[in-house]
């Protein structure tokens, strides 16, 4: 699995800044200084097909449907680099984006997602040293409150054999309700905040349909982009676009941990109950717009329940599933996800504010309510909107989330030492290890790389492409010793070719 986050970018006092250039400046500043050798491996687009649909057809490539067409990006010369931790750091549209390396578990998602925040903060610091550059602020949020949203997408590798209809049926109610745990909180109702108020999710108001391929127009709760970056016969990649970007480590951990559990149950054909919700798009918004968590959604079977209760239904299924399949042999992380999930849901039922050390929307709301009562502010106060925005500022000294952490007000999942290491080191148990270590060890010889290949230029007639189609190969156990042994990229290519 992995997580990709687009950051909001702004140059204070310069509202007319070209955001693509500002984003490029940030990414290039990081990339140029990171590899002292000056190597800049480019991204290899050969295997990418973002218009392939999980339902089994392919859309014609039209700018209206997909303005991310790789050719355009190349033409613009937008920054696009691979880091030694296996991540991709680039400019997507007008936002700097950090796509984490592939990892195998929720805790590692948290680790490399946090590392992405630190990379962005460092990139902005370095951009400041460019002569004449104005300070660029980066925000890990999802909207400018003026009608625009940008994403934080999760990716899960699934078995190709899983029927897509089952995914849609069982995942939609889960996505409608999981915001009570992993919403990031937002001041303003409606895509352009035309109504004053607070809501649980940054993204809920931007979703218009139940299922679809688009990510920028008519956003769907279930996205059907089917581009596995792996053997398409064996795998599909579930591209999840409905999540908020979380600052809280517990929220990210639960977001991907609980989603993984639900996906495992779907793959395994476990669900015997149908939790389908009447009007899921409207239900998504209604749950988001009620931070008291009292709103009742109606299920197709006629039952009415709150978002928290709907999550409880999923939790109960997951608890039984894990008990049935693993019993006492359950791995500690799965057990931990279940236990935290149950604890958070239980407390959301009784007293949501008791989750202020764990969940973004609750922590943000408690600050906002503090301001409202101390300074008698209404929800349309620009100061409250500023608190909302600055909560997501990646700078340690300015970001309000980061200030809360500094004061010991947030429960954490990973250590800062680990996060710093993850800025440069890849995970050891996926192909990201091979990609990242090749970049670190042979920076001059890696001509290009992508999720499923590394291309070497070792001075021969043609470039040497090493495919990495199997996400669980290219691990430290698999190639660590080989990479240690090969002093040059040419040695590596020869060894892989059996020469």
């Amino acid at each position: 699995m992995g997580i990709e986050t687009e950051y909001g970018v702004s140059v204070p006092g310069q509202p007319n800044t070209n955001q693509m250039l500002a984003s490029s400046l940030v990414v290039n500043s990081y990339a140029n200084r990171t590899s002292s050798s000056g190597s800049r491996a480019r991204w290899d687009f050969e295997e990418e097909s973002p218009l392939r649909d999980a339902r089994g057809f392919e859309l014609p490539r039209e700018p209206a449907v997909d303005p991310t067409a790789p050719a355009n990006e190349d033409d613009l010369g937008l920054a696009n680099v691979i880091l030694t931790n296996g991540a991709r750091l680039y400019v997507d549209h007008a936002h700097p984006e950090f796509s984490s390396p592939e990892v195998t578990n929720p805790r590692d998602v948290v680790l490399w997602d946090k590392a992405g925040e630190r990379v962005m903060a460092e990139a902005a610091r370095r951009a400041l040293t460019v002569p004449g550059a104005k300070p660029v602020n980066l925000y890990k949020n999802n909207t400018d409150n003026k009608g625009v949203s940008y994403g934080c997408h999760e990716n899960y590798l699934m078995a190709r054999s899983t029927p897509f209809g089952e995914i849609v049926r069982n995942l939609t109610p889960f996505f409608v309700s999981r915001q009570v745990v992993c919403g990031a909180g937002r001041v303003g109702l409606g895509v352009d905040s035309r109504e004053a108020g607070f809501q649980i999710s940054q993204r809920a108001d931007f979703f218009e349909v139940e299922v679809g391929l688009e990510t920028t127009l008519k956003r769907p709760i279930i996205n059907t982009r089917d581009e596995p970056h792996a053997d398409p016969e064996k795998y599909r990649r579930l591209h999840v676009i409905i999540g908020d970007a979380n600052m809280s480590e517990v929220a990210t951990y639960l977001k991907v941990g609980t989603t993984s559990l639900v996906l495992a149950m779907i793959e395994d054909g476990w669900f015997s109950v149908d939790l389908s919700v009447d009007g899921p798009v409207a239900a998504l918004r209604a749950i988001s717009h009620d931070p008291s968590l009292k709103h009742l959604v109606t299920l197709r079977d006629g039952r009415k329940m709150t978002g928290v209760q709907l999550q409880m239904e999923y939790f109960e299924q997951a608890r039984k599933y894990v008990e049935n399949r693993f019993g006492a042999d359950v791995d500690p992380q799965t057990a931990d996800v279940l236990s935290r999930w149950e604890s958070v849901l239980g407390r959301l039922e009784v007293d949501p504010m008791s989750c202020a050390r764990e969940l973004d929307w609750v922590a943000k709301l408690s600050i906002l309510e503090g301001y409202r009562s101390r300074d008698s502010l209404n929800w349309d106060s620009p100061r409250l909107e500023l608190v909302d925005l600055q909560y997501h500022d990646v700078r340690p000294e300015k970001g309000l989330y980061n200030r809360l952490v500094e004061r010991g007000r947030f429960d954490l999942v990973v250590s800062e030492d680990e996060v710093i290491r993850a800025m440069t080191e890849p995970p050891e148990d996926t192909r990201a290890f091979f990609r990242g270590r090749c970049l670190a060890r042979y920076p001059q010889q890696v001509a290009a790389a992508s999720w499923d290949s590394v291309i070497f230029d070792i001075g021969r007639d043609s470039l040497q492409r090493v495919p990495t189609l199997e996400p669980l190969r290219g691990t430290k156990a698999h190639v660590g010793e080989l990479l240690d042994r090969c002093a040059t990229a040419a040695d590596l290519v020869d060894a892989l070719a059996g020469r």
Binding site: D92, V148, T215, S343, M353, E385, V387, V414, S415
Partner: protein, 72 residues
């Protein structure tokens, strides 16, 4: 500095859940809630003072100037 750990946070949440289980009568539940809310609001007051110090100046202009282009 924050308490970063993988196990401690978990014990913390478990402890809270256990406490909640022990509370049986609605009355004590309510007073427990009230107590927690009071403690929370004291905490929030001191936190707001610190946030005041780091919050960007001229909130209205700042949020108005935060305009993004579409993404994804």
């Amino acid at each position: 500095m924050a308490t970063r750990d993988s196990g401690g946070g978990q014990q913390h949440t478990n402890r809270r859940a256990d406490e909640a289980d022990e509370v049986t009568t609605e009355e004590s539940e309510a007073s427990d809630l009230k107590e927690r809310h009071e403690k929370l609001s004291e905490d929030v007051d001191s936190l707001l003072d610190e946030i005041d110090d780091v919050l960007e100046e001229n909130a209205e202009e700042f949020v108005k100037g935060y305009v993004q282009k579409g993404g994804e």
